[in-house]
């Protein structure tokens, strides 16, 4: 686990190690030890709380990318029931960076489209680290339109560093694939709720993220370019990613303040990976709450409101 330790978590992990040490310590004075353990655990809880209470945008970025953070495959299992995966774009191939299919959310049938980064090395390579190619976006498009035809609400789980910037992706029209999804999602005649579960990497994320309601997990990020990419261009040094993360306001709380995010799902103390089941439970509750609000709307009204929401994006003078 030590290799997955984030820098700012060092004091927490030291304390945790100390507690473990005491637990395994064989001593006559059991009572004293257990009392000390208790004290240390209270201290650990407080320290974790205070550390996570004031994470910088860059630290949030690190939690959002944490190697143990639950992925789409985990939530597909824990948030939904009866998931049936559907494969392929019907034109070129199946892209494992995007998973799609039908499932039940608290009993109701829904269409789910999700980005998956992969867990093991082999799986990561197969899923291209969650960077979809055009065929992935076209598979998503096919499923979106199917959701519309069968009146299934659409849920998208966002977790990608971005759309794949490769030669083959360009050849097959990466830009067009993303653009098409934006246009279709904007007018799709079924409710759409998107949730950023980890990393929302630019156009590659938005291509499955045009929605009626945008939810972000507390320690997820969403940005127009990765902090490293932004730093490389504007600061001429990727090492200034912390400054870029701060300046771009990539974290959920900052984006909620600007009005781009509708709802934030609170994560278990120390991040979703500390208690994936609790995180899944919160996600299910949040999704249900959003759909409860959307269900009363007539389809035309729903699509019109979405359009007005999109038209309202922007800060400028004049008009």
């Amino acid at each position: 686990m030590a290799s997955n330790l984030l820098e700012f978590e060092a004091p927490i992990s030291e304390l945790r190690a100390k507690i473990e040490e005491l637990r395994h310590c064989v001593d006559d004075d059991t009572l004293n030890i257990s009392r000390e353990i208790e004290q240390l655990e209270t201290k650990l809880h407080k320290l974790t709380e205070s550390t996570y209470g004031k994470l910088t945008p860059w630290q949030v970025t690190q939690v959002a990318r944490h190697p143990e953070r639950p992925h789409a495959v985990d939530y597909l299992e824990q948030v939904f029931d009866d998931f049936e995966e559907l494969h392929g774009d019907r034109a070129f191939r199946d892209d494992p960076a995007i998973i799609g299919g039908m499932a039940r959310l608290s009993g109701r049938a829904v269409m789910v489209i999700a980005q998956e980064k992969g867990r093991t090395t082999q799986d990561k390579v197969r899923r291209n680290f969650g960077m979809p190619r055009p065929e992935g976006y076209r598979k998503a498009l096919r499923l979106m339109q199917m959701a519309e035809r069968f009146h299934l609400p659409l849920i998208t789980l966002i977790d990608t560093p971005g759309a794949y910037p490769g030669i083959d992706a360009e050849e097959r029209g990466q830009a067009e694939a993303i653009a098409r999804n934006l246009e279709v999602m904007a007018g799709l005649k079924t409710p759409i709720v998107s949730i950023v579960i980890g990393e929302g990497g630019s156009g590659g994320a938005l291509a499955i993220g045009v929605c009626d309601r945008l939810i972000m997990l507390e320690y997820s990020i969403y940005s127009v370019i990765s902090p490293e990419g932004c730093a490389a261009i504007l600061w001429k040094e990727a090492a200034h990613a912390d400054l870029a993360a701060e300046a771009m306001a990539v974290n959920a709380t900052a984006l909620h303040e600007i009005g781009l995010v509708d709802h934030i799902v609170t994560e278990p103390l120390g991040g979703a990976h500390r208690d994936p089941e609790a995180a899944a439970e919160s996600i299910r509750a949040a999704l249900n709450a959003q759909f409860d609000q959307l269900r009363g709307l007539q389809t035309d009204d729903l699509v019109d409101r979405r359009y007005q929401k999109l038209m309202g994006f922007g800060r400028f003078e004049g008009v």
Binding site: A179, R180, A186, Y307, G314
Partner: protein, 286 residues
Amino acid sequence: MNWLDRLLPSKIRTDQGSKRSVPGGVWEKCGGCGAVLYQPDMVRNMSVCPKCGHHDRIGARDRLTKFLDPDSGVELGAEVRPVDFLKFKDSRRYKERLTKTQKSTGEVDALVVMEGMLKGRPLVTCAFEFSFMGGSMGSVVGERFALAGQRALEQHVPFICFSASGGARMQEALMSLMQLAKTSAVLGRLRAAGIPYISVLTDPTTGGVSASLAMLGDINLAEPRALIGFAGPRVIEQTVRETLPEGFQRSEFLLEHGTVDQIVDRREMRDRVAKLLDLLLDRPAA
């Protein structure tokens, strides 16, 4: 210049004090073939090299006035101006960058919208100003584009866009990304209403602008040899760690791969767009 010099006919004037006997900018080198070209000739030729056909980048306002019938263009959305709502600061403040760029380009932001006539056909058109922060799309570009689309929708006239952009504007962060959705949503409404949208991709069109409004034309046109793609060539090279093939992400490459319908020479743009619209709307040939 003193009063005596002013009285003298220009041929008798001495060149005293003027270091610019051949003022800068009269001659320029072609970016394609390297030929030395007389600048007024280039202006007459719409900044296309008469020797090799290289299409030099041109400004948004210049492009629109040349595309529309003389004196027919009326600007829309000029009142929409940028604000630094994030107080974004890297090595310089966004606010300072805006002021400086506004001064150097004479534009308020990176998109100019006009309503006007093309060979007598009413339409709405817009063009990106690449020299304004790389033609990047932030709130103002998105709002002006949306206004343009809405106008075309209300007037039931075609909408033509000339793109030239590096993508979304980082200084407006996620709000810039949302402009991709906003502009695409407007185009969805045009499509549903059966109003033609022609996207003309010019050098360069990459990133968020290519991944939204630029690729959504009923017809996508490109100027010759324009760089067009989602990711920039440098990013791709760093990702795949190999040298990119010759001509990769150029207009001709996109034509071959099925992304654009035609490659059109700038000097023929007016004729071609008018003809395409007439066919699309089944109007009698001019």
